[in-house]
Amino acid sequence: MTFLENKWFLVALVVLCWAISASFMSGYYYLQYNDLSAKIKGVIISANLGINYGNGSAVAWFNGTKIKAGATLFDLTKLLVPVNYTESSLGVSINAIGGVPNSPKWWMWWSWSSFGWNFGYIACDKYVVGENETLLWYYQDVLTYPPPPPS
């Protein structure tokens, strides 16, 4: 048979089989993903948020705050304290938290991990809060960048 003499015919058949398998599996994972995201919609998680006003007073902690899975740090903060903010294409920019404006210090956010405090490099509305995660707003000097972690 002439078609068997052509090795590219066989290669094409093998690639066709692979493409069909891959398409089936991608459809399967797409359905699984949709199903899972529909199921977890509205699932409630807990998170801890601290507000450090940088004036030596005790940090205000809101431990075990309940929020929907997929909520951002901005959502969590708005839920607990009055926030003044500006929206831009880069994300939300915080102007004031709890009536304390970005002058002379600035509001920076930090997340706690087993390595200590990690500086939040992205806008607070881009950061999705995890289950039982601990986050902190710290009103601090930004003369050095990144600023020193909370003590």
């Binding site: 048979m1 068997l4 090795k7 058949l13 066709l16 089989c17 398998s21 599996m25 399967y28 359905l31």
Partner: protein, 178 residues
């Protein structure tokens, strides 16, 4: 159709039914499709299709996994695809000398095992969707891991077994004819 052909069809149908019962605990890995294909390849498309239809006639009714008429009809008809494909391929490449090109033929047969299985799974999934009022897209893609397993298993079986079995059966047929 001579008595020899009738005997072969009955024997291969019995063989495919028996292997299906033996492999009942192994989901979607069966020798039935391959036996139907080989029947078609060696004895013509209608003999192959008959083996497939006869096999499902028994296995589909006496099935511990249940009985749904539409699914049963679809599997019976879809199974005959292997027989037809085998029959038409037998007419096309049955006369060539397999010696010296076994690897190439094995790869070809592996793809031949794969492609009719896609059609078979699509047909049976659509029948399942119609029977149980499931959206067709959901039925097709939810069962995708089983579909792909079925396709890959058939590729492996067809790829490894086709050449030796076709050569062996070809000798029996040749002896019978001479």
């Amino acid at each position: 159709m001579n008595t020899f052909k009738i005997a072969i069809i009955a024997t291969l149908a019995a063989l495919s039914i028996v292997t299906n019962y033996m492999l009942i605990g192994v989901s979607n890995i069966k020798l039935m499709d391959f036996i139907v294909f080989v029947g078609g390849f060696c004895f013509g498309p209608f003999a192959g299709a008959s083996i497939g239809i006869l096999s499902w006639l028994v296995y589909g009714v006496l099935n511990p996994q249940g009985f749904a008429p539409l699914v049963w009809l679809s599997t019976m008809l879809a199974e005959s695809i292997y027989g037809f494909v085998g029959g038409f391929l037998g007419k096309s490449i049955g006369s060539i000398d397999f010696h010296g090109q076994r690897l190439k033929l094995s790869i070809f047969f592996a793809t031949v095992g794969f492609l009719p299985t896609v059609v078979y799974d699509l047909v049976t999934n659509i029948a399942y969707a119609s029977t149980f009022n499931v959206p067709i897209v959901v039925a097709v893609f939810t069962g995708a891991p089983y579909t792909v397993l079925h396709e890959l298993a058939n590729s492996a079986i067809f790829g490894v077994c086709s050449v030796p079995i076709v050569v062996a059966l070809g000798k029996i047929v040749w002896r019978q004819e001479t």
